[in-house]
Symmetry: C3
Subunit: 361 residues, 3 copies
């Protein structure tokens, strides 16, 4: 890996992603060969918002490589959130641990963490922004279940507007040839324009449909996500529409025999329990693939001969400029240097990737 | 072990119990010989209600065998209780861990957990229903401290009506020859009829007495438990009666020299602190025996060549029938298939063992 | 170590402290040589008040020696604080673990813990009383950063009246030759008289100054601590005075090139973030030294051939006498035997070291 951190899966090359998939497969085939691969290493799981299962997946992955785990997952009860700045916590824990997995409700928090921690940082979810190990999990699952990452017809169902796992999966799968996307959602909750731009730029076809039933027959993969009730205009609208986005055995009758159903979990009611017994349902297997994906990631980040990147310093140019995203970490940890990269006539916040016009400066 | 899970100690044969006791003794005699017995194994402690000490006992046992531990013990703070169904959590964690110890406020939760988890499940307490590793702890303690499990005069004091550890200990000790029980309680809090039936069927004598003093002289074992104040009819009744159920040095003067005092802990005030220094007090030693008992159990469940039982499926016969126990897991996780076994003209819920007449169908 | 426990750093001889510093250095130089030094050992971290980072430091230290960790750090959510007495918890955990690190809001809690635990006890902070591993951290840092523990000019800045880490550091550094102290504080928040007595008795010079600026030039070491706003007489007084106790780059211009800046952390705003990049800032390095200090302490306590001290029993003489410090553990865990040592015409509580005149008996 070029960077010592994993903040955004976009930072990995296709080859680096394939290497991790390949290593995950090797570990899965012979777990006992890797039981000492991280012996003596310590993972810190810094979960500023609770996500018990994600934390368990990271912990299990490190323990199965012979390493150990410290951390917290209920900061409201801990002294961390009250007692000291984000910078101080990350600097100190970066001195204790060999690698850090951080989850935080604010966008850009993992990026900020990497500025202060000597230990490499993995983004385990920063607000609604990024969650790269979920997408790594998804591609490891796809590769194992479909045998390839290209020329797939991939349905994505649910809240495609706000779902960060959906956006990340589209961006990643657009990097492989011949993939086609079927976007299954209400008109209000379809993918944002920049995701359409990604698909267009990559030359990936996509269609938008308004229910599972009409899409089902052509899909190689169905990636289910939840639509939260509060996303609908009214309760009546919710009651009227929800059914067409719920996967059940009836709808599955229309599907291919080798369809694979994924879900980032947790599910609420968008997949009926009856589907669990269908052999095409792979959302539970997916969590096990996720464990192997994280094992491969740990080994790559801890044992690889990566060149440790210089800690970036602000160029000072835009230092007076406050990010306009109120969920950006820089709005809450005010000592953080403002950092923007220029993109055409836009400035992009290097923490949360919120964009603004240059003319506002 | 015939089953891959330990939900109810009744499911173990006397020989299986004796094998675990024997293994616990071997571990206790030579702990260092077993320090790698579970190397590479991961225990998940899923504690849906807090029980810090029970969790520490399980964790310590696994760590002393060279294994590792993941889990949670404050579900109200975690994403688990909110975010997903019991089924999904258990299915996923059963893919991460090699063995699961679950504690849950609802009855039958461990039984339900075993339906979904690929990893074997240990019941670490399901509401007021069962807590088999406590009873395993008790019999390991008795065997070590008395040298035998038969021909003992066993006093049980406190809330014998609701105390699940008392019921389980009576059921288990009734399987050994010549044991005699002295039930020390208020008339309102004596053992339920079905426990008397167990003793009668096994041919075990029992007597009921209304205070510690009159029982003390004949006991080989005294199993103390707490009587909660709210179990008494009034505060006056409580103040009047409580003294006769509190063990102190004065009452101990009436006891045999080789009496052994046990208590499942935590105690409130039913044993005076002064008793702690008496050599017959074994309730603290009991917790250490409990650690060895759990070590032996882990080894038996993880390394034995048990035949993994088929996941049971509902026969559908009584599937429309809701369990009448409102603390039954099936009342809260409504997707669970109803399962009953027939017992004479009764139906017994296979989760919480609540019984109902067949005629109600 | 003479005692099996570390309750108060005063109980260690200078030689014992130097031995720990020496071992910490050896571990730091060759960590891999020590990765199995505590293999098979279990640390219990019993944190009755949250202190996430202190707990992580202890945990990391044990894990890096090959040992393991159990424990809790949110007792309000756990069954511990509700369910059973301090004595019972410590007795039981002392049977599970090989060594215990305890933090508690009440003074004397670690002393009380050591009475009941078979496993050795480390005081990780008992209210405002003692926190010996912080001071051990401080001296390991000083020795490494200054090359010596004597003939140093040590500035201490902040709340010197209530700061337990300041008191402990002065007491410890007074045991080495030629150290001189500069006390930087408001008149209301200077060190208590008994700390002045310690310095006088040891023959250590000290001066009291009212701002960082006037002290800066002569210091070899600057130990920064926080002044809480509520310690000032009024908000105006706080706003007027706070600036002189805040360290920034401007004030650092007056300092020696080989000054070393320490801070027990967490900091609030008493050190500007800009100082972090100064090479003299060692408060983050200090936390890493703290990890090595704790590793050395674990090895010394677990592997040394210490003579296990008898559990002390009260002599009964002053048993009717209640300690006058309402934060003393004996006021809350009322079964604890009262224990005083005589000191001139005073009695000193052996738990919290609160003193009272003998005539009051």
């Amino acid at each position: 890996m070029k960077s010592k951190n994993l903040i955004d899966l976009e930072n990995l090359s296709v080859k680096e992603i394939l290497d991790i998939i390949d290593l995950a497969d090797k570990i899965k085939a012979n777990p006992s060969e890797y039981e000492n691969a991280c012996r003596g290493k310590i993972l810190a799981t810094l979960f500023y918002e609770p996500s018990t299962r994600t934390r368990m997946s990271f912990s299990t992955a490190m323990l199965r490589l012979g390493g150990n785990v410290i951390g917290f997952d209920n900061p409201q009860n801990s002294s961390i959130s009250k007692g000291e700045s984000f910078k101080d916590t990350l600097t100190v824990v970066g001195g204790y641990a060999d690698i850090i997995a951080i989850r935080h409700p604010l966008e850009g928090a993992a990026e900020a963490a990497a500025m202060f921690s000597d230990a490499p940082v993995i983004n385990a979810g920063d607000g609604g922004h990024l969650h790269p190990t979920q997408t790594l999990t998804d591609v490891v699952t796809l590769y194992n279940e479909k045998g390839r990452l290209d020329n797939l017809c991939i349905g994505l169902c649910g809240d495609l507007k706000y779902g960060r796992t959906v956006h990340s999966l589209i961006k990643t799968m657009s990097r492989f040839k011949g993939n086609r996307f079927v976007l299954i959602s209400t008109p209000e909750l379809t993918v944002p324009q920049y995701i359409k731009d990604v698909m267009n730029t990559a030359g990936c076809e996509f269609t938008e449909v308004s229910g599972l039933r009409e899409a089902m027959g052509e899909l190689d993969v169905l990636y289910m996500t939840r639509i939260q009730q509060e996303r609908f205009d009214s309760d009546e609208e919710y009651q009227r529409q929800r059914g067409v986005f719920v996967l059940d055995n009836k709808k599955l009758e229309l599907a291919k025999k080798d369809l694979r159903i994924l879900h980032p979990l947790p599910r609420v009611d968008e997949i009926s329990y009856e589907v669990d017994d269908d052999e095409r349902a792979k959302y539970f297997a997916q969590t096990v693939y996720g464990m192997y994906a994280r094992m491969a990631l740990f080994m790559t980040m801890l044992n690889g001969d990566r060149s440790i990147t210089e800690k970036r310093k602000s160029n000072g140019l835009f230092n007076a400029l406050q990010c306009m995203n109120e969920h950006c970490i820089t709005r809450h940890e005010t000592y953080l240097p403002k950092r923007y990269r220029e993109y055409g006539d836009m400035l992009v916040c290097e923490y949360c990737e919120n964009t603004r016009k240059r003319e506002f400066i």
